[in-house]
């Protein structure tokens, strides 16, 4: 298809003072100051949620976003978004617009808080409730301050909602169409009671919602002060300026890569019905001049359970991929994705429609979309490409009762939540991160153990699992936990079938991970569970692509379907192991300096065998007993590398 670039408009920097003032209603200096100030306002709106939220996912995983947005006549332009969770970035502007327009612009008054949570109207999932506070200046609607924040529970069939098995909107949770939570500053009783009549943990939702409203008050106050000082003309002009500025950043970044069209795809392993169907996200990225188009045609149909995502989520991850590769340092605004068009057929797995299937575990598809676009763009940016991260958030939840009947919950603590990134031209990757689209505080093991009957026995990287490369991908992370009480476990790992930690620029893929359970030993506390094949053989496999005989991860193994059962029950002293996938490598591993390979052997990121196999580097010595006296054999390394290059050229497909 033909994609043409319009004649480029003059750059903002080339505008004369008069042109600038005409376009933005203020001088350059004020526009710069105001654009910064919007950033501060959203930062302040986040501060208290970070320290005063009860929901652990809010406070530890930053699962919320704050924005400032313009009035309807600016089409709700969003000049500032908080640097909280990337998963919300593409959805916020539409969330606010759809919510206010449906509620009716004519119905909003000073002091209102309008809420809504429907993923089909506003992306992400039902637990993410949007709170909108209109801001008035001299009697006119001058903008909005907004918070979208994950609530601990929104009803539905599963406590907390974290399940991939729910199969429709009706099981998923309470859907709130746009409605006031506060009207002219006063609580709207029937909205609060509607919520509390449908959700669990109301005693924790209430303080969180109170905290959110207090933060909206603060944001409103700061925006009002700004309006009083600079006037609505300058404030609105600077909002457009901030958005234009980020659109221009992206346009100029696009201009720097060659024109062309590139394809990429990636896969979600399964949904919650069975493992007969993989869900493929296929993208074709076309770039001409300063614009790009991302076409999702060929993407799989909507899934049968709530692993789906909506079009706004697809928009998020396209934006995030372009930011990572082309414009990494500037903040997100509603202008960021302006030069990028999406073509997205209805009712695919990333453009789901109600009511069947449902949308809950949307973030796993964000990861698949991100992978697909990163793979496509890797061909466009050459050495700027990034290896894949471990691909899944690998969330695990467990629940149970203490002997005295008190319920306990361990949420997103003992799965594979912490895992590796892929490498890139800037160097080896970190191994202990959340995913490319999440950020947050990893809970201290001592805090986990003081809150739930569990002992975390191991949290360490596993050697030889990082994608080999000139720069090495992060290594997979093993987390072993001993459950001291009967426990029910929920798993949400969907990225084993195809290595999500893909290598780039000649780098290798990261190794595959898995999940295992060892049933309780008769003689009490099990101590350490070894990482040996014998130990794996005794385990019950829960997920991964594993050798059917040994249960060890193997590329040629068989897929073990993670949702074979909706949850696993374990007896006291059972051991759970998560091994995350490895991150992708960057660049040819045979080009890695042998000294760096030796240091990896010394530090246990690579074994002596792995050094020879994956890097062609011959190292001898004992990294455990005498780590400083390892030796690289230069001549043997040269020969081995030469041989590996020959083998590679023989087996490489002819072009």
């Amino acid at each position: 298809m033909a994609l043409t670039s319009p004649v480029p408009a003059p750059l903002i920097r080339d505008l004369s003072d008069e042109q600038f003032a005409r376009r933005y209603g203020c001088d350059r200096f004020s526009a710069t100051v105001l654009a910064n100030r919007y950033g501060y306002i959203v930062e302040h709106m986040c501060g208290r949620l970070l320290t005063a939220a009860f929901s652990p996912i809010l406070r530890d995983f930053y699962d919320f976003a704050a924005t400032v947005s313009g009035p309807p006549e600016l089409d709700y332009a969003t000049p500032a978004m908080s640097a909280t969770i990337l998963l919300f970035t593409g959805t916020m502007t539409d969330s606010v617009r759809n919510t206010v327009e449906e509620y009716g612009v004519e119905n909003v008054e000073p002091g209102d808080v309008i809420i809504a949570n429907d993923p089909y109207r506003m992306g992400t999932h039902v637990n993410d409730v949007l709170f909108v506070r209109p801001v008035f200046h001299e009697g006119r609607l001058a903008g909005f301050v907004n918070l979208k924040a994950h609530q601990l529970d929104m009803g539905g069939t599963v406590p907390g909602g974290f399940s991939a098995a729910k199969s429709s909107v009706f099981e998923n949770g309470l859907v709130l169409s746009p409605r006031p939570l506060l009207k002219a500053g006063r609580p709207v009783r029937e909205t609060w009671t509607l919520i509390y009549a449908n959700v669990r943990f109301g005693e924790l939702l209430y303080p969180d919602m109170q905290t959110i409203c207090v933060n909206l008050d603060l944001g409103e106050r700061l925006l009002c002060e700004t309006l009083e000082r600079y006037g609505a003309g300058a404030v609105h002009g600077a909002m457009e300026y901030a958005c234009d500025r980020s659109a221009e950043h992206m346009e100029r970044a696009l201009d720097r890569i060659p024109d062309g069209a590139w394809e990429g795809e990636d896969v979600l392993d399964c949904d919650g019905v069975d493992d007969s169907e993989e869900y493929r996200v296929r993208v074709r990225v076309t770039k001409v001049g300063r614009r790009a188009e991302v076409d999702f045609s060929g993407t799989s149909r909507q899934a049968r359970t709530c692993v789906n995502a909506t079009a706004l989520d697809a928009k998020t991850s396209v934006g995030v991929a372009f930011k990572y590769l082309l414009d990494p340092r500037t903040p997100f605004t509603s202008g960021t994705a302006r030069p990028i068009d999406l073509i997205l057929p209805e009712q695919t797995v990333v453009s789901a429609l109600p009511p069947e299937g449902g949308v809950f575990v949307y973030w796993e598809l964000n990861q698949v979309v991100l992978s697909a676009v990163l793979r496509a763009l890797a061909q466009a940016v050459g050495p700027g490409a990034m290896g894949g991260d471990r691909g899944s958030a690998d969330l695990h939840n467990a629940t149970g009762l203490l002997p005295d009947g008190t319920p306990w919950v361990s949420a997103a603590q003992c799965g594979g939540e912490v895992g590796p990134y892929g490498a890139n031209r800037h160097g080896d990757a970190d191994s202990q991160m959340l995913s490319y689209q999440a950020n947050g505080i990893g809970m201290a093991i001592e805090a986990i153990e003081s809150g739930a009957p569990v002992v975390v026995m191991r949290h360490e990287i596993e050697p030889d699992t990082g994608g080999p490369g000139t720069h090495r991908g992060g290594c997979g992370v093993v987390r072993d936990s001993v459950w001291l009480q009967p426990a029910r476990h929920f798993f949400m790992s969907f990225r084993y079938k195809h290595a999500p930690g893909f290598g780039v620029q000649g780098g290798g893929d990261g190794a595959g991970g898995g999940i295992w359970i060892w049933d309780a030993e008769p003689d009490g506390f099990p101590g350490r569970t070894p990482l040996t094949p014998e130990a794996y053989r005794r385990a019950a496999p829960v997920g991964g692509v594993l050798d059917p005989d040994t249960n060890v991860p193997s590329r040629d193994g068989a897929y073990v379907y993670v949702l074979e059962r909706p949850f696993w029950e374990t007896r006291p002293m059972a051991v759970l192991r998560f091994l995350t996938n490895g991150g992708g490598g960057w660049g040819d591993p045979l080009e890695r300096e042998p000294e760096r390979v030796k240091l990896d052997v010394r530090d246990g990121y690579v074994t002596i065998e792995g050094a020879a196999r994956d890097y062609g580097v011959v190292v001898s010595g004992d990294p455990d007993e005498d780590p400083e006296n390892l030796v690289v054999h230069a001549e043997a390394t040269r020969r081995l590398r030469a041989e590996q290059r020959r083998t590679r050229s023989r087996t490489a497909p002819t072009a």
Binding site: L11, I12, R13, D14, R28, F29, T32, V33, R37, Y40, H44, T51, A52, F54, R59, L86, L204, P207, Q210, T211, D217, L218, D244, Y324, P328, R329, V418, R425, H426, G427, A429, D430, S431, Q432, M433, N439, G440, I441, G442, M443, A444, I445, E446, E449, S450, M457, R458, H459, E460, I461, G474, V477, F525, G527, R528, D603, G604, E625, P627, E628
Partner: protein, 687 residues
């Protein structure tokens, strides 16, 4: 009294004898930092000096540059990667930046490389019970490896050791058995607080600081004695409180970042002298502005701080936020044509273009010179001649269609606006309203930039203290000796828990008194108790809830719960009285009052009319040049009033009183600047 502030470039030495301040600056030495301290002492003379107070950023610099001794880390088997993980999070503004790496992670620059981080089989549960005994054979084997690698010190942090320290104590014995007399820090002693990562990183830094400071402090003590010094040698910590140097060496993680907090203490002390208890303190230097708060006469404290992103240290510290804007901040042009200032800096070498040391990038100092705020002669006590032609050429070199005049004007205004926004930002984050605060403005570049923020910030006034260029070193003579200790225990606050809490405090208090050598009825000693608590369900604590004096009874605990809710409401705007409160960390501070700098009040002279030394053209401030009066600070008597625009010069600093502002010299020599509109009606001052 002598205060010594060891900085990267200069070691500032300040002496107060009979109320008179004398000063010397000695070039710092990277290879032998003690030498500069001793040289400073020699110049001013230490005989008969009662106290010699020392602050240094040496520890911080060693960590940031990774010029570290070789230390090893021993932990519970399976957990050696806790130091690579930190608390996992990335800086929020670097989330899509592929070049970001955790600065202390294995993919970047770890403090301890992975092969020297090793696990020992053992396991203590969250309640302190032993799940697995310590495997001493394996511990000895790992220690032998450390021996083979010639490690100089060992940090030990085992999981849940904050509840049960037995295995850590035993491991320390084994270290000495296998490796001999090397420094060892164990987490249950260094920082017995919950959450393993912060405790582990504090313990690693602690043993590193032992290695860095041990020989250094002995050397200084010896040489001072040789010069005839018979007083007390004290080290300042991260809260700019003092402790005897031998005490400091017991837990030197506490002194890793001494220096910036001293300015806050100096402000507090000056604030007392002029009756101002609410201060925003801003130290404007070459590369950055350090901002801190004094609320109701007390600096704003934190219970942890970070040496770099997420490199956490558990120690009481004055909260000092560093903003990337100072005299050396680089003026640039963004792709969309904005004039930008910072966060990059020209540093001290080559420095701003006008220094003539080869710098070609314009900096804020260049803008101030071209405006006329700075004079070419007399900068930094006459040590540097500033060249306006070079400054102008640097601005001409910027890639923008804006005329040069506008570039200079914007550079100054953006620099001022950035600092103002950051200060407002810090104030809001702490829930304080700048309108109730005075802005204490010091550091060499404070006076030339901060008065211009008055009108953006709405602070009550800007105060330029006497000796603004050496104000931080004065802070070392404005502070007390403080011994403190803290420990963690998750306890639900109910009247029944009173005995448990009382026992925790009793034990800490006894030990502190023994260490400080003071009895129960010692004069000049105050005991401060506080705790960090949380609502049940929270994972973050609300720190520093004060505990009333006297025995801790069931009634006290009720009172603590109330106080918790009060503090929580004040900080977060909500009150949840129906949610139970859990105590997490308990803290005792033993304050031994020390001799401090006295600000002598002068009498206002009746003839407060002062005549300027001359007039100059103030350019690039308004559309047309303005006539500004020029004064020498030392010739302004108490009570003198100066109307802006005016420039007040002194040896190490320059104050720019903007049009529409009035400066008045206060009783202890401070310059107080307010908007003229406060006194008389006036118009908006920005042109």
């Amino acid at each position: 009294m002598i205060g010594v502030d060891v900085g990267g470039t200069f070691t500032d030495v300040v002496e107060i004898r009979d109320g008179r301040v004398s000063v010397t600056k000695v070039p710092s030495s990277q290879t032998d930092p003690a030498q500069a301290v001793v040289e400073g002492a020699r110049r001013l003379g230490v005989e008969g000096v009662p106290v010699f107070n020392h602050a240094s950023t040496m520890g911080l610099n060693a960590v940031i540059t990774r010029q570290l001794p070789k230390v090893a880390f021993l932990t519970t088997d399976g957990h050696r990667d806790m130091l690579d993980r930190g608390r996992v999070w990335r800086p929020p503004d670097r989330q899509t930046d592929p070049s970001w790496r955790r600065p202390f992670g294995d993919a970047s620059k770890p403090l301890v490389p992975r092969y020297l981080r090793r696990g020992v089989p053992e396991r203590i549960a969250a309640d302190g019970s032993v799940l697995m005994a310590l495997d001493e054979t394996e511990a000895r084997r790992q220690l032998a490896v450390f021996g083979r690698c010639n490690v100089e010190g060992v940090a030990i942090c085992l999981l849940n050791a904050y509840v049960n320290h037995a295995h850590e104590e035993r491991l320390r014995e084994l270290v000495h058995e296998v490796l001999g007399d090397v420094p060892v820090s164990i987490s249950s002693e260094t920082s017995p607080l919950a959450k393993e990562y912060a405790r582990a990183s504090t313990t690693v830094i602690d043993v590193v600081m032992k290695l860095i400071f041990d020989a250094y402090s002995h050397r200084i003590d010896d040489e001072l004695r040789a010069l005839g010094f018979r007083g007390e040698l004290n080290f300042a910590d991260c809260a700019a409180t003092l402790l005897p140097w031998r005490e400091a060496l017991r837990k030197p993680s506490r002194i890793v970042f001494a220096g910036p907090a001293a300015g806050t203490i100096a402000s507090t002390r000056l604030g007392e002298a002029i009756g101002d208890r609410n201060l925003i303190c801003a130290d404007v230097g070459g590369t950055s502005t350090d901002v801190s708060l004094v609320v109701d006469g007390r600096p704003f404290l934190n219970n942890t701080f970070e040496l770099e992103h997420d490199l956490v240290i558990n120690a009481l510290s004055t909260e000092v936020v560093s903003v990337g804007a100072g005299g050396g901040s680089i003026v640039g042009i963004s792709p969309s044509g904005d004039v930008t200032v910072g966060p990059g800096s020209v540093g001290s070498e080559p420095g701003p273009a006008c220094y003539g040391r080869g710098g070609t990038l314009p900096a804020v100092t260049d803008a101030c010179l071209l405006m006329g705020i700075l004079a070419p002669e007399g900068f930094a006590a006459g040590q540097v001649r500033l060249d306006p032609a070079l400054a102008r050429r640097a601005f001409e070199g910027l890639d923008t269609p804006l005329p040069v005049d506008r570039r200079i004007a914007f550079a100054f205004r953006i620099a001022v606006a950035n600092i103002a926004e950051e200060i407002a930002n810090i104030a809001i984050r702490h829930g304080v309203d700048p309108r109730d605060f005075s802005l204490m403005s010091y550091g060499a570049a404070g006076g030339m930039l901060l008065p211009a923020t008055l009108d953006l910030l709405h602070v009550r006034r800007v105060v330029i203290p006497p000796h603004p260029g050496l104000f931080s070193a004065l802070g070392l003579l404005s502070t007390d000796r403080v011994y403190y200790d803290s420990r963690s225990a998750y306890v639900l606050l109910t009247p029944q828990s009173a005995p448990q809490i009382a026992a925790v405090y009793e034990l800490m208090e006894q030990r502190l008194r023994a260490r400080a050598g003071v009895g129960r009825d010692a004069e000049d000693v105050t005991l401060r108790r506080s705790f960090d608590g949380r609502l049940v369900g929270h994972s973050w604590e609300t720190p520093f809830i004060e505990i009333p004096s006297g025995p801790i009874t069931g009634d006290t605990v009720q009172e603590l719960v109330e106080r918790f809710h009060d503090v929580y409401e004040r900080r977060y705007g909500n009150r949840f009285p129906y949610v139970p409160v859990q105590g997490v960390t308990y803290r005792v501070e033993l304050v031994v009052r020390s001799e401090k700098v006295q600000y002598a009040a002068g009498k206002p002279e009746r003839t407060a009319q002062v005549r300027p030394e001359g007039m100059l053209d103030l350019r690039h401030y308004a559309d047309e040049p303005l006539q500004a009066a020029e004064y020498r600070r030392e010739s302004l008597p108490v009570g003198a009033r100066v109307e802006g625009p005016a420039i007040i010069r002194e040896a190490l600093s320059t104050t720019f009183v903007c049009p529409g502002q009035v400066a008045e010299v206060g009783t202890v020599g401070e310059i107080s600047i307010e908007a003229a509109t406060r006194a008389a009606g006036g118009s908006d001052r920005w042109p």
